[in-house]
């Protein structure tokens, strides 16, 4: 029998960089096919081929008949809906939330060509209800830009789900979502599969794959290296994914407990309605700040970094008053931060790895303001080596790296130094297990060497793997503060709810 | 550009100076409509910018004050469409008379006729409207006269059968009139016109300097250049100096101003002669013509203001450094007996 969509020997290169080398994939109605692969394996590229973004070699056939997917429009007509990895590739700032929800319908004339903004509202609400997005009218009418990252991701999902396509493609849809939101998404996916929709699901989160996938395909270096039926054989799947390497998932027994207080917050108010919070971060340990989306992690991080100074409250750094009005002030005080949104927060045009890495520390690679190309290049190479970035050389543009490798660069450039405080806001978004492991090791080294490391994440796994001490943040208030050895996953999750 | 009219005339004007004397004292009994109160008129200028129009406007203002006109000035900054709008506005204002200073025939004629139909007297300066608006009074400085004066001088200086250059732009009434004479003189003296360049941009002098400079490289052996508009002449002069040809090439222009005098009298200046009228005096003359027209004493439909020749030598001999010195040395510039009447206080610019 022939399956719904058949991909045969799909190839794709960017310049001389061959990313896909003959990929075969089958998608069946009502089946969830999960794709696992290291950063740069080519997952997003497969998706972009299938959704008509890239030209490609090889054949795609639908119900046995060969087809060509030459544009996103064609893909849609063929019943392929994709939610791409980058949220910024989906939402359209400047248009209302409603218009964004209905944008596909607007383009395909499923709404009247002369529809007024008002007349869009009912349909938009209907769509939002799929994911129980309880937005107010004001929000529906307002600019989509006023939504949080998470809400924007949910909007894009709703937009795709409502179309009940033949094949639904989701590229790391949960990397910005809280657990509850993710669960809701899975329920909907289950409903859709019952209705015969085929789903192509890309994620780094093994638990999610375990939960929803009917089939697991592993991609490495642009080739399929393994296919699995549930229950999935994780150890061998991870081998396929990472080549000979073996990702250690062993118990941790290396907890560090810092002694000297470095950064202390007194009466800081994170969110308008939240109680003031008092907390101290210590050198020599990794403090994980765990909280759902919108809990205030980014507020906390950008407050301490001076990117968005706290309105209420005070801070001391090594017992002297510390109130940075700008990141540059914070950096002078040796407080560093890796921001949450990689594209908007760190990537500069087509800059090479070397340039991107040296940007925060230009004085170090220049004398009397004149830059030293050599030492700059070395900085780049250093980052590549110590973080195992997949790249030819420090001259490669960061933008051409895969998501995970980009993240290694932007985290790595800060860890060359030995800061007093290192803040990482969602540093593992879209980072595969291998890459995450590398990052964790280095981060912990920095802590061991005497920095106070603060790691914000809405993914408990990440906290458990990287942190010594955990703070649970709920609506801008600290609900739980303890060392991991003295608590359990259950206790932490409870502290989320019992507030 | 100095359309600083509403600020009341000559006081802020630089080039006519403040020491003007009223020659024929104001006649005691003025004819209608001047007998009761100030008379409102409008001046609709195509462009008030540049030394020439500045002095023109200044003179007009001084004369207007003496006669008792209340003047509203419109300056279109060389934008013909804007001038049309200005004219409409002026007509709407219900003034007794409108003076139209330069502009495009096709643009202004219909509007001039509108004005005349509405009983507004119209005096125009330097637009060819004889056929299309016969009822308006057409005044002009005699461009033919100016061109003849200076080209005769040029012929005397360089003689026949020589190579000459020409800087001009056609399609602008006065320049066209000067062009006619140029053609005549070229054939008459059997000059060979090696180049004819020129462009009318918003920085005329600089841009034409570029053109002439290039032209001079392409054509060596030119012995004189005629640039019948002082902005052109300025450009020409600086181009000649660029190429260090001041000894071999003479420049001839039309019009004069403080800046021009400085350039002409500077050591080794190639600009040896220009023909001119005093823009101040002309401005005043046009206003006087309007006064006569309103009083019903202007019979002829055309008034021409004669020009005079000013040579480099003359300037040097009388050590003239600015317009005032020039006016002292050349009383003829004052045009006091053109469009004059005993009841009109006429001006002498010193």
């Amino acid at each position: 029998m022939t399956s719904m969509f058949e991909l045969r020997d799909i190839t794709k290169s960017f310049g001389t960089n061959q990313v896909l080398r003959g990929v075969d994939l089958d998608f069946e109605p009502g089946r969830v096919t999960a794709l696992l692969g290291a950063n740069g394996a080519g997952k997003s590229t497969v998706i972009k081929v299938l959704s008509g973004v890239h030209e490609y070699g090889g054949t795609i056939s639908l119900d046995g008949a060969p087809i060509t997917v030459d544009s996103p429009g064609t893909a849609r007509r063929l019943g392929i809906e994709a939610v791409h990895q980058k949220i910024s590739d989906g939402v359209i700032p400047g248009l209302s939330v409603a218009a964004n929800l209905l944008f596909d319908e607007i383009v395909t004339n499923e709404t009247s060509r002369f529809a007024s903004s008002r007349s869009l509202l009912p349909k938009a609400k209907e769509m939002a209800s799929i994911l129980d997005l309880g937005w107010t009218d004001a929000q529906f009418k307002g600019d989509v830009d006023d939504l949080l990252l998470a809400d924007q991701q949910l909007l894009l999902l709703a937009r795709a789900l409502v179309r009940k396509p033949r094949l639904l493609i989701l590229d790391e849809p949960t990397s910005a979502l809280s657990k509850a939101e993710a669960d809701r998404l899975f329920e909907v996916i289950e409903q859709l599969t019952e209705a015969g929709v085929g789903v192509f699901y890309v994620s780094h989160r093994l638990r999610e794959i375990d939960r929803i996938a009917d089939e697991l395909v592993v991609l490495r270096d642009g080739q399929i290296r393994g296919r699995y039926e549930p229950p999935f054989e994780w150890s061998s799947a991870l081998d396929d994914m990472l080549g000979q390497t073996r990702a250690e998932t062993e118990e941790r027994n290396d907890e560090m407990q810092g002694t000297s207080d470095v950064l202390a917050l007194q009466g800081v108010q994170l969110l308008p309605k939240a109680d003031p919070l008092h907390v101290t971060f210590r050198a020599g340990e990794v403090t994980g700040v765990f909280g759902l989306l919108g809990a205030g992690k980014t507020e906390l991080a950008s407050g301490m970094f001076g990117a968005a100074p706290f309105k209420v409250g005070a801070m001391t750094l090594n017992d002297s008053p510390y109130s940075p009005r700008s990141p540059s002030a914070a950096i002078k005080a040796e407080v560093f931060m890796v921001p949450e949104d990689r594209a908007a927060g760190t990537l500069v045009g087509d800059w090479s790895i070397a340039r991107t890495s040296s940007l925060p520390f230009l004085s170090a690679v220049s004398s009397l303001g004149v830059l030293n190309a050599k030492s700059e290049h070395d900085v780049g190479e250093d980052v590549i080596k110590s973080f195992g970035v997949v790249a030819n050389s420090a001259k490669d543009p960061v933008i051409a790296l895969s998501g995970g490798n980009q993240q290694k660069v932007v985290v790595g450039r800060w860890l060359k130094e030995q800061p007093a405080v290192m803040i990482l806001d969602e540093p593992f978004q879209g980072v595969d297990i291998g890459a995450r492991h590398d990052l964790v090791v280095r981060v912990r080294e920095v802590a061991k060497a005497g920095s106070a490391v603060i790691l914000m994440s809405s993914d408990l796994e990440e906290i458990m793997q990287a942190a010594d001490r955990v703070l649970v943040l709920v609506d801008g208030e600290i609900q739980h503060d303890t060392y991991l050895s003295q608590t359990s996953r259950e206790e932490i999750l409870d502290s989320l709810v019992t507030s | 550009g100095g359309s600083d009219a509403s600020s009341g005339g000559g006081d802020t004007d630089s080039e006519s100076g403040s020491d003007t004397t009223v020659a024929a004292a104001a006649g005691n009994d003025m004819p209608a409509p001047f007998d009761e109160g100030p008379v409102k008129i409008a001046i609709v200028q195509n462009s008030g910018a540049g030394d020439y129009f500045q002095q023109w406007t200044a003179g007009a203002n001084l004369q207007a004050d003496l006669i008792g006109f209340e003047v509203q000035i419109f300056d279109a900054q060389a934008d013909n469409a804007k001038q049309a709008t200005d004219m409409e506005t002026a007509i709407g204002l219900g003034v007794a008379g409108i003076i139209v200073d330069h502009g495009q025939t096709d643009t202004m004629c219909p509007l001039i006729n509108d004005a005349i139909e509405k009983g507004i007297k119209v005096v125009i300066y330097d637009i060819a409207i004889a056929e299309c608006a016969p009822d308006a009074v057409e005044t002009s400085q005699s461009d033919a006269d100016l061109a003849t004066l200076v080209l005769t001088q040029m012929a005397a200086d360089v003689g026949k059968d020589v190579s000459v250059g020409y800087v001009n732009v056609l399609g602008i009434a006065p320049l066209d009139r000067r062009h006619v004479i140029w053609d005549e003189m070229v054939t008459a003296n059997n000059w060979s016109q090696d180049f004819f360049v020129g462009e009318f941009t918003n920085s005329v002098a600089t841009d034409n300097a570029r053109l002439v400079d290039a032209a001079l490289r392409a054509n060596t052996g030119v012995s004189a250049i005629f640039a019948p508009y002082d902005e052109f002449t300025k450009g020409t002069v600086s181009a000649i100096e660029q190429s260090n040809l001041q000894d071999s090439i003479r420049a001839y222009g039309i019009d004069i101003s403080n800046a021009d005098i400085e350039i002409m009298t500077k050591d080794g200046s190639p600009w040896v002669a220009t023909a001119t009228t005093d823009p101040n005096a002309i401005g005043a003359g046009v206003v006087r013509t309007m006064a006569l027209e309103l009083a019903g004493e202007q019979d002829s439909r055309t008034v021409q203001f004669p020009g005079v020749l000013v040579t480099q030598d003359f300037l040097r001999e009388n050590s003239i450094t600015n317009m005032d010195d020039l006016r002292v040395s050349l009383p003829a510039l004052n045009l006091t007996d053109t469009s004059s009447a005993d009841w009109i206080p006429s001006l002498e610019f010193k």
Binding site: S116, D132, Q139, D143, D146 | G1, A81, E88
Partner: protein, 355 residues
């Protein structure tokens, strides 16, 4: 539970508060500041200058405004797709020459002249689109190059001369035709007391406003201007829409060219020179009207009206032209302070410097 999380997260930052904030002094200034400035200026001139009160003054002001406004509408359209059209001034100038040639040199009828001009504008737009969409040249550069080219090209057939009846042709004969009465009516005609150009301006403004805000095409154009990649991924034929926007811009420019031509009554080669900067100015001012923070037709028209009020008012007060420039600049600045300094909104569709 995630739902509750969402609702309260937005509670803390969301739009409900924004709605109430809308009545804070600051928000008020942002929304209405610009309109108030316009009214104040109008009132000021109205009380101080009797001549300004005249109906004739008002309508000749509107005539003046119309050209800038219509050009501005074109630029606005290009701005909605994230571009900018620097060729509008030259296009208007070209239209003046084309119309003059058609009627004067080829002695054709007014309708034909109008047709020729509009087609001309459409072609320029298409050419811009070709450079931008097919040859992938950034908007600013492509239209700048076009600006230079047109400026020169339009003068070749007329040997760089203004075309007016009685023109001597290359073969020495006199040009047979002239500007027809009908054509001259374009600028000089009235409906009651209202001049045609003012009516045209009103109509085009409303049409463009409806097109941009109430139709699919307008929405998609805004989308392209704000996030082209997302639009493309959603299946929008981005190139097609960009092309459309530039063609509209070209046609608008040629329409203002028609009005100019009819106003000047001859193929003035310098016509349209000042139009580009004024057009951009009003289109940019327009983005600040009613706190829209994006290019929009109504704002542009209002910007043009303010510009008209200032020019006319200061002229009647007899300010020298340089003081008029100062006032122009100062008011532009004021409008900008309202929408950018005071407004908290993010701004988009600012023509980025394209590298």
């Amino acid at each position: 539970m995630s739902t509750t999380a969402n609702t309260d997260t937005t509670g803390t930052k969301g739009l409900a508060p924004a709605a109430t904030r809308a009545f804070s002094a600051r928000e008020f200034a942002v929304r209405y500041g610009f309109i108030i400035v316009t009214i104040l200026f109008y009132a000021f001139f109205y009380w101080t200058e009797p001549a300004f009160r005249l109906e004739t003054t008002f309508f000749s002001m509107m005539k003046f405004t119309s050209v800038v406004a219509i050009t501005g509408l074109g630029i606005t359209t290009a701005m909605t797709v994230g571009g900018l059209d620097l060729s509008v001034g030259s296009t208007a100038g070209m239209s003046v020459t084309i119309s003059a040639m058609t009627m004067v040199i080829y002695a054709q009828s007014a309708p034909l002249a109008v047709g020729a001009v509009l087609v001309g504008g459409l072609l320029i737009g298409a050419m811009n689109a070709f450079l931008i969409v097919v040859l992938k040249i950034p908007d600013l550069l492509a239209t700048l190059a076009m600006m230079f080219s047109i400026q020169g090209l339009k003068l070749i057939p007329v040997d760089g001369q203004s075309v007016s009846s009685g023109l001597i042709l290359r073969d020495g004969t006199v040009a047979p035709g002239k500007f027809t009465e009908g054509f001259l009516k374009l600028d000089r005609g009235f409906v009651g007391p209202v001049p045609y150009p003012a009516i045209l301006m009103a109509i085009l403004t409303i049409v463009m406003w409806f097109f941009l805000t109430h139709t699919k095409w307008g929405r998609v154009m805004y989308a392209i201007g704000s996030n082209p990649e997302a639009a493309r991924l959603a299946g929008v034929k981005v190139g097609l829409y960009k092309a459309g926007a530039y063609m509209i811009s070209g046609v608008m420019a040629s329409i203002s060219g028609l009005i100019l031509s009819s106003r000047i009554g001859q193929g003035d080669i310098s016509a349209g020179a000042s139009l580009l900067l004024d057009g951009i100015a009003v289109a940019l001012i327009g983005t600040s009207v009613l706190g829209a923070n994006r290019p929009n037709a109504l704002g542009t028209a209002l910007g043009a009206v303010l510009m008209g009020i200032l020019i006319t008012g200061t002229t009647i007060r007899g300010y020298p032209f340089y003081l008029q420039d100062v006032v122009k600049g100062a008011v532009l600045l004021l409008a900008l302070v309202f929408s950018f300094t005071l407004s908290r909104k993010k701004h988009r569709h600012q023509p980025a410097v394209p590298m």
